[in-house]
């Protein structure tokens, strides 16, 4: 359990810091000084499917506990609200789900070459897919040491929102080495894939 002292820190800093720790798989206790921050932490926990509870320690001190692995029991104090965390479909577009650092599974060498050519070609298009999700070894493409960073950056510049799976980055030891795009999680990936966007799996 990690404790984050967020007393005196305005929203959204407590949520941002708590989420960072949670995405690393750590349970957190967050100390905040107002009930609004408690509610914002609760929305985040509910949206990401984490267990939430809090305790008022003093007039201006609340200890909020968020557990990554929810045991399934309904947290007792989670009564304020339970917003649905579906992403708002501001514009319907295309999702590219990239599940590896090569295309196909037959042979590694041509597979990697194919992926490079694929991303190079995608970078040449004037309009990129709306969202590119990188999972499993696909996260290597967006991290230090990748040979396709320039192409991915160009694709991002053409409007793609590139997100890499946090758990996968962690597995490959690349969490601190992500160069292009943001970190995501399975909840968010599932929400994207079940939105009205079209999905292409590479």
């Amino acid at each position: 359990m990690t404790t984050l002292n967020m007393l005196g820190k305005p929203c959204p800093i407590p949520v941002v810091e708590a989420k960072k720790a949670l995405l690393q798989g750590q349970d957190v206790t967050v100390l905040v000084d107002n009930s609004i921050a408690v509610q914002n932490l609760e929305k985040m926990a509910a949206g990401l499917g984490y267990g939430f509870s809090y305790e008022q320690k003093g007039e201006a001190e609340y200890a909020v506990t968020i557990i990554v692995k929810n045991s399934g029991a309904e947290p007792a104090s989670c009564q304020v609200m339970r917003p649905e965390a579906m992403p708002f479909d501001a514009s319907s577009g295309q999702i590219f789900l990239i599940t590896g650092d090569q295309i196909g599974i037959s042979a590694e060498e041509p597979g990697k070459k194919l992926m490079q050519t694929f991303l190079y070609s995608l970078a040449q298009l004037p309009k990129a897919p709306e969202i590119i999700l990188l999972i499993n070894a696909g996260v290597k493409l967006a991290a230090e040491g990748s040979e396709v960073l320039d192409n991915l950056k160009a694709i991002a510049e053409h409007g793609a929102d590139i997100r890499s799976c946090g758990q996968c980055l962690n597995y490959y030891g690349l969490t601190e080495k992500l160069v292009v795009g943001k970190i995501t999680n399975m909840m968010e990936i599932v929400e994207f894939l079940t939105s009205s966007r079209r999905t292409v799996t590479i």
Binding site: V15, K43, D89, A156, E157
Partner: protein
């Protein structure tokens, strides 16, 4: 503007672009729309600022009218919805949500949309109530200078204290 006052730290191209859209929106004067609306039958008008769209609308409805919002018509900056889904949430938006309470079926809407409608605006636009038969004409005139203007809903009767604001599709 909506949820953009706290952009993510990665200053990637998308967020820089979103920031520019937000700055453009905040710099836009309400003066032109305000001058034009005077030629129409306006029953109410407010500039949407710190209380967000829903609480300003709630205030406008008072205890005499209800309103229907058409979420798909709301002009939003797409990245603002992404940031809301990343839980970059302000304290003021939560205070607005608490103030709004149970006076509308907000909880059934997508989370980002809820947040954006509660989000405080640094320099928001005008929320204007105009006679239905004049609404399209007023929109056309306003859009000459402000292309993002939209008809986002309608005032309905009767007044229902437990459901002052409802959500639906454009009729």
């Amino acid at each position: 503007v909506w949820a953009l006052s706290w952009p993510p730290k990665e200053s990637d191209a998308a967020s820089a672009d979103a920031m520019q859209k937000a700055v453009n929106s905040m710099r836009r004067l309400n003066r032109y729309a305000a001058e034009k609306m005077l030629r129409f039958n306006i029953s109410a008008c407010t500039d949407v600022t710190g209380f967000g769209l829903l609480c300003h609308l709630l205030e406008m409805c008072g205890n005499s009218a209800s309103a229907e919002i058409w979420p798909e018509e709301l002009p939003i900056i797409n990245e603002a919805a992404d940031y809301a889904n990343d839980f970059l949430l302000t304290a003021a938006a939560q205070r607005n949500r608490n103030h709004f309470g149970k006076r509308g079926q907000v909880d059934s809407l997508p989370f980002a949309l809820q947040e954006l409608m509660f989000d405080p605006q640094t320099s928001g636009g005008l929320l204007i109530c105009v006679d239905t038969e004049q609404s399209q004409q007023l929109l056309n005139v306003i859009q000459k200078d402000d292309s993002d203007a939209r008809i986002i809903g309608r005032i309905i009767n009767p007044y229902d204290h437990n459901n002052i604001i409802i959500f639906g599709g454009k009729k």
